[in-house]
Symmetry: C2
């Protein structure tokens, strides 16, 4: 819809800044701005403070690249983790999913992104040099690629796998298959095809 009435400049700037958030269109941005200004000014103040503080205080863990206040995050500093295994994920949310499975006791590297040949995210943006340096610490024996099972996640896994194998590391990928607890009837055909091809005796 056309904007018939000009917004006052500070409102237009706020709507513009909110639109830069992922998944937020102009209508949502406008609704968020009205909400913050009219119904939740304490929320607006909390958001400015939280943003400023996060920008100042958060850095990346020197070992796994996740967001951290300390130079080395708590998980990387935990001596009970198995330092011979390194699991590569796209985001801290993905890392959390692996932790919630209680099936992994090794360490992580968080890419904070993935290759997107069409979207313009190349090897530099996922920090390939840092991944390789981390994996080649002499302690890691197996690298588990746990990027998403999407086109971009697969490209990323393929690219990292080649580079890591070329340095003599053992590289594995999470198994693709039918989700635990699923009724086969409701599983998509592509997943079933993978589960068939990777069937185990």
């Amino acid at each position: 819809m056309d904007q018939e009435l000009a917004d006052p400049a500070p409102l237009a700037a706020l709507i513009g800044a909110l639109r830069r958030l992922p998944g937020v269109g102009v209508k949502s941005a406008r609704r968020m701005a009205y909400h913050l200004l009219q119904h939740d000014q304490p929320g607006a103040i909390a958001l400015t403070q939280a943003l400023a503080q996060a920008l100042t205080e958060l850095r990346h863990c020197e070992r796994c690249n996740t967001f951290s206040v300390e130079p080395i995050c708590a998980l990387c500093a935990d001596p009970r983790r198995d330092a011979t295994q390194l699991c590569i994920v796209e985001t801290p949310a993905d890392q959390n999913v692996i932790e919630a499975s209680h099936g992994y006791r090794g360490l992580y590297y968080i890419l904070m992104g993935r290759l997107s040949p069409l979207g313009g995210a190349g090897a530099e943006e996922i920090g390939l040099a840092r991944v390789l340096e981390r994996a080649a610490d002499g302690v890691v024996r197996e690298v588990i690629l746990a990027t998403s099972f999407t086109a971009e996640g697969d490209v990323t896994a393929h690219y990292l796998g080649d580079a890591l194998r070329a340095r003599g590391l053992t590289v594995t990928r999470l198994a693709r298959g039918v989700p635990a607890g699923s009724e086969l009837e409701y599983v998509d055909a592509g997943t079933v095809a993978w589960a068939l091809a990777e069937r185990r005796s």
Copy 2:
């Protein structure tokens, strides 16, 4: 999903602040936080500045209650508008829709909300006293209620209509009916019922 790994405090605070935005759940808030911190730090800085500036510089127009930098907004100050008509809308976005119709040359009052008996928004929250004071300026002759055609919008219109009529003002409501350009087949039955009941010769 459970959060297995504790987020660093500044990240948790940022996710919490983003969750307060309307329509933003914990997953979206997390994605927004990663995006701002990892991929768009200039966007994060722009958002803190825009929020701080909007909170400082915006006030409500003394006449129509919309967001404005000046005490009286440009529309209220425009001598070409017909000051005998006052159109009451819920939000500046609704006002914009009316302006875009090019069918109205009067003035506005923006409630910045609506009655929500179940949601706890009562007469004070929509500023009934200010609406009545504005409408009773001695110049306004007709008040056009243009709140939404939803349960809450109807309650608001009903409530305002009663109060305004009690003060001797002429009150009208936008016509309910079949949208221009619609094929009847695709119009919902409630709308058709209204269009029948309010048919014109």
